[in-house]
Structure formats: C-alpha cells, structure tokens
C-alpha cells in the first residue's frame, strides 16, 4: 500500500461550545515521527480525539484528509478502517468482551468479509505480540480493560496498535503512568512498527519518551495552535529549559486555551 499522508489544515475544534483547537496545520507522512509537546490544557488531547471522531468534539472549521480522502466526513469506524489508530489516554472498559475477541473482531472488520484471519493463526500472532510486550498471556481472555491497571491499559493499547496494521498512529500521552521498563517496551513496539508505510503523531508532556522514540519533527502547542516547530533538538531544549523562554519569545503569558482573550 502506498505511503500514508495525513493533512490537517486550519482545524478548529470545540467541546460544549468552547473552542479548544484554534486553527491547526500539520502534515504527517509515512515514515515520519512527529511529536506534539506542550503544557497541560493547550489542546493536544482534543486534537487527538477530534481526529479519531469522538462524538463529544465538534469540528467547527478546517479540513483533514487522509490520502486525499476527507477524514472528517467518515464515521469513527471508517477512519479506523482507513488506517487511523489512536492509542487512548483513557481507554474504555468493556465488561464481558474478552480482549482476544475484541482484537479479532477489529482485525476482521478491517480485512472485510471473506478475508477473516484464521483463528489459530490469530491466536499465535496475538500470543507472540503479547510476549514481546511483556503482557501476561491470561490477558487475552480477560475482559477488555476491566480491572487493568493504568500501565496495563497502556500496554494493551500498544498491543492493539501492533495487531491492527495501522497507517497513521496517534499516541495520546502513552507514557503517562508507565515506569521506565514499560516505557522501553512501548518504545520498542513503536520502533518495530516504524516503516515508510506508517506515520506517527506522538503527544507527550515529557521529553523522556523521545529519548527512546526519536522524532523527526517536534511541535509545541499553546492556546490551541502549533506555535513552534523544529527537530528533536527542540524537545531537548524544552526539557532542559522549560517553556518559559518560548512563551517570552512569543509574548504569551498564559499558554492554556482561552487565557489569551
């Protein structure tokens, strides 16, 4: 399949009539890793949820295309089948639905009727991926995220990423709540997936994750926009010096959304 191309133009997103994302431009292509950094409350997670199509978020302006197709016209499941994958910060718990059954149903939904993955092949593949993510094999039959710890939920998101062959991957604060060992495991899974056929958008507070997943581009979000872009050295500078120098340069006093008015 051709290299993916996600293009965001002037995106505006509101939740309950409050505009959170205020005109955001970004392009992610296959083989690229983009990191979006920024303090709390600057619209990073809203961007991720809006791209996936969460029903609580209203897109009030701008366009988003994936391979030239209008992403915003698609339903959530169509976006997923087009190759978009969002590792969520707070994935839902679904009692009574086993992890394995869920992932298999999701995979088959992508493959389409008549092309379903054989059951035995699926379970072999699932067990291999679980092993490499250091997930206990019993989690295959556990109910989806029910009673999982924060770290287990995050690894389960990464397991799904590894199983579902996504083309554009968004990781929304995948590093929060992970200890250093789990962080390395997650980073390895991302690096293993890295290829010209996959583009990444990594949302994070901390530079720590970016030591293990080296980004090609780093963007800083404040007040619902990207205010500065650069290479990996930008992340390092932010880690060492914080955000104040950048706020000063830009004349921003409060970086959170809605504070500038």
């Amino acid at each position: 399949m051709a290299s993916p191309h996600l293009k965001i133009d002037g995106l505006k997103v509101s939740i309950e009539d409050k505009q959170i994302v205020r005109g955001l431009d970004l392009e992610v292509k296959g083989g690229e890793i983009h990191a979006i950094m920024g303090p709390n409350g600057t619209g990073k997670s809203t961007l991720a949820s809006a791209l996936m199509g969460h029903p609580a978020y209203d897109v009030t302006g701008g366009t988003v295309t994936l391979d030239g197709q209008d992403l915003l016209e698609m339903s959530v499941d169509e976006r997923a089948r087009a190759g978009l994958f969002l590792a969520m910060q707070y994935p839902a718990e679904v009692p009574g639905v086993s992890n394995a059954n869920f992932i298999r149903t999701a995979l088959n939904a992508r493959l389409g009727e008549g092309n379903e993955v054989p059951v035995i092949k699926f379970h072999r593949q699932l067990q291999e991926k679980m092993k490499s993510l250091n997930i206990d094999p019993v989690f295959a039959e556990r109910y989806l995220n029910e009673g999982f710890s924060g770290g287990e939920k995050k690894r389960n998101e990464i397991l799904q990423m590894s199983m579902l062959n996504p083309r554009i991957v968004i990781l929304d604060e995948i590093d929060s709540g992970l200890d250093i060992d789990a962080l390395k495991i997650v980073a390895k899974a991302v690096n293993d997936l890295r290829s010209p056929e996959v583009g990444f958008l990594i949302i994070t507070h901390y530079q720590r994750l970016l030591e293990y997943i080296v980004p090609d581009y780093v963007h800083v979000m404040m007040q619902g926009r990207i205010v500065r872009s650069g290479g990996r050295e930008l992340a390092e500078k932010l880690e060492a010096q914080g955000y104040d120098w950048l706020k000063q340069e830009l004349g921003i006093e409060d970086e959170t959304v809605g504070a500038e008015a």
Binding site: D77, V94, V97
Partner: protein, 430 residues
C-alpha cells in the same frame, strides 16, 4: 369465565380420568380448582392483572401439533450429547430419552404422570410442598390443570454428571398450558436440570399460562436449575419457581427470557437449613411491548445462609419491564449474608426498565448485605472505543450487549441450550 367454569371443573375430572390418577391427586386438583375460582384477581404493584382476561378453555388433551424445526434440532442435539431429555409438546409427552446408566443408579427422570403411577409416594410427599396449591391464583390454576411436566429424583450420595433436560414446547394449540416440574435431590446428591420453554408460534391473546417448578434440595445436595424461556405476546404468563434448601445444600438458578410477553415471574429460594446457599442469575431480553415483572427472592431462615442475585435486563422497542430483587433475612438467621446486583440496559428511547432492590432484615447479626442497581443506556464511550478500532456501530452495540449477557448464558450447563438461547438473543439484536 363463569360460563366456562362448570365445563372446566369437568376438565379437571377428565384429566384425572385420562391419566388414571389416584384419589389423593384427584382431590388435590379439585381443591386447587376451587381455590382458583375463589381467589380474586389481584393487583400487583406494577402489573394490574385485573385488566387481563383469564381464558383457560380448550385444554389440549392429545398431541395434534407438530414440532418446529428449531425445537426438533434442539432435542436432537441434546439426545446426541448423551444427556437425558424429556420432551413435552402442548402438555403431551412426545419423547423420553433417559440413559440406562442413570436408572440403574436409582435416578428417576420421567414425566409427572408416569411418576405418579410408578413413584406415587415420592410424588405425594413433595408435590405442592414448596409451591402451595393455594398460595396464588395462578399456582392454584397450575395445580388444577397441570399436564406433562417433569419429575426428577436423585437418590442419596448420587452425583448426576450430565444435565437433565426438559424441553417444553407450546405451539399455540389450546389455551391452558400448565407445566409442572418437581425436582427432589436427596441428601448429598447433585444435579443440573435445564428447562427450555419454547413458544413456536403465536398464541391467542387473553389466555393464561401458569408454570410451576418445585425444587427440594435436601441436606448437602447441590442443584443447578436452569429455566430458559420464550414468553411471547398474547397470553398472560405466570411462572413460579421455588426451592426449599436444607442444611448445607445449594441451589443455583439461571433464568432467561427472550420475549415480548406479559409475564409475572417469581424465582425464590427458601434457605431453611443452616449453611444453605443459593444464587440467582437472571437475564431478560425484552422486545415489542414486553411486560416482564420478575422477582428474584431469597428467604433466609437458616443460620449462616448466603445468597447472591445478579439480574441483567436488555430492553428494546416499547418493552417496559420490572426487575425486583428481594432478600429477607428472618429473625434468628444469624450470620446470613446476601448480595444483589441488577443492571438494566435500554437500547431504545421507547423502552423502560425498573430495577427495584429490596432488603428486609429482622436479624441484627448478619455478615454482609449489599445491593447495587442501575438502569441506563449503553455507554457511548464503550461504543466509541470499539468503533475506533474499526468495528461498525451495530456490531459494537451487539458486543457491548453480549458483554452483559454472556456470563449468564455461559452459566447454562448445556451446549445445545446455550446455543439455542444465544440464537434467540442474536435474533433480537440483529
């Protein structure tokens, strides 16, 4: 009803004649009939029975109907699995398959009429002892008119390791359908009993059906009793199931109803013995204009008796159903404990559900008593999450609903019946 009363009194006599019943049973039927006639129609809190008609004329007295394909396949799959099965259609016994190995160990599995003829003393000792003939208008109706039905007796120290099946089909022929089940598990025995009630075509409206099941679990006996139903629109259905649980015995109920009927149901364990235990797992999938008024009840009389009630209702269309869970801990039931969990899920805005938990505690020294009840719609975040992995909305909804229901279906100790119930549920989620 008055016009038919005298005819029906003669039907009661005709039943006794047809099955050549002993005098005690003939008297029991007649006395039950009088009770039925003399008991006024009651108005339940959420089910106004005075607005229902009580037509019971035209009892089917012989087999004229044929089995539906689905029931045929179900019975066949049970027979092939080697499990005992009793198949009754419209009150008439059509098939009895009991492995010789069971009979050799003294286990009795037969229809009620044969049981009366061959094991009269056993039946006489227990029939009407758990569900009294005069306890309600509908219990009286059943006691007067029951036909077909199942009788199971498990001797002391005997474990029956295959589930005993009772398939009861109502093709809609005739009016009064009154299956009666009597299960007696003697001391230190174990049994799984699976009843499947199938409505294979629509029945006239205005008629009444009354199902009664009695379970006696003697000391240290373990009984699993499954009642899988399809209460359809038209009649008023009554279903009364009660177990008497002796010392250290346990009774685990699994109840399912996939239907659109007007039904008043009671599942109850009388935890008489010390250390007795009971669980109720109930599942309702209501559609159309279903009115299911279901009560799961635990009566704690014995010391250190424990119980657990879990009810899941899924409602579609204009279904309007009531799930009551009731725990009564009587004085002197020291150390008793009980939990209740009820969750109702409404799939359409026109559906309505009530979850009513009740705790009546007369004893101060109890170990734990809790209840949790919720009524609501499907969680949008769950649907969003499943869809975000590529699963279309209808399938995601189905998965979430199945998530509620699966554990109860899995508790049915019969692959054939699990599949049968699963197909019914899938049919309503399509």
């Amino acid at each position: 009803m008055t016009e038919g009363t005298s005819t029906l009194a003669s039907v009661v006599q005709e039943l006794s004649r047809k099955y050549a019943e002993p005098e005690w049973l003939k008297e029991m039927r007649e006395s039950a009939w009088n009770s039925y006639v003399n008991t006024p129609v009651v108005r339940l809190e959420k089910s106004d029975l005075s607005k229902r008609s009580w037509e019971i004329e035209n009892l089917p007295l012989d087999v004229q109907s044929t089995a539906s394909d689905a029931v045929d396949a179900l019975v066949q799959s049970i027979v092939e699995s080697g499990a005992p099965v009793l198949y009754v259609r419209d009150g008439q016994v059509v098939r009895t398959e009991v492995p010789a190995s069971l009979s050799q160990r003294g286990v009795i599995v037969t229809d009620m009429h044969t049981a009366v003829a061959q094991h009269g003393e056993l039946v006489k000792a227990h029939l009407g002892s758990v569900v009294r003939t005069d306890e309600s208008k509908w219990a009286a109706l059943n006691a007067a008119l029951w036909q077909g039905g199942a009788f199971v007796y498990v001797p002391k120290n005997t474990a029956v390791d295959v589930a005993v099946h009772f398939v009861h089909e109502d093709t809609g022929a005739g009016a009064g359908i009154a299956p009666r089940i009597l299960v007696v598990a003697d001391e230190n025995s174990s049994l799984s009993f699976v009843e499947v009630h199938v409505a294979s075509s629509e029945k006239a409206s205005g008629v009444v059906t009354s199902h009664v099941a009695e379970v006696v679990a003697k000391a240290n006996a373990r009984v699993t009793f499954v009642s899988s139903n399809q209460f359809r629109k038209g009649p008023t259905h009554f279903a009364t199931s009660r177990a008497l649980v002796h010392q250290d015995a346990s009774v685990d109920w699994v109840f399912t109803d996939v239907g659109d009927g007007y039904t008043v149901g009671l599942l109850e364990s009388e935890l008489q013995g010390s250390g007795s235990r009971s669980t109720i797992r109930a599942l309702g999938m209501g559609y159309g204009r279903q009115h299911l008024d279901l009560t799961a009840s635990m009566l704690h009389e014995g010391r250190y008796s424990t119980s657990d009630i879990v009810m899941h209702g899924v409602l579609r269309g204009r279904a309007n159903s009531i799930y009551r869970s009731s725990t009564h801990i009587f004085k002197n039931a020291v150390g008793a404990g009980s939990e209740q969990h009820d969750r109702m899920l409404m799939l359409d805005s026109t559906a309505r559900a009530d979850a009513i938990p009740m705790l009546l505690i007369d004893e101060n020294d109890v170990q734990r008593c809790g209840h949790a009840a919720s009524v609501g719609r499907i969680d949008e975040n769950q649907i969003y999450y499943l869809m975000s992995r590529g699963i279309p909305k209808p399938e995601a909804t189905k998965m979430v609903v199945w998530g509620y229901l699966q554990p109860t279906v899995d508790a049915i100790p019969s692959a054939g019946v699990r599949e049968f119930v699963s197909n019914l549920i899938d049919g309503e989620l399509a």
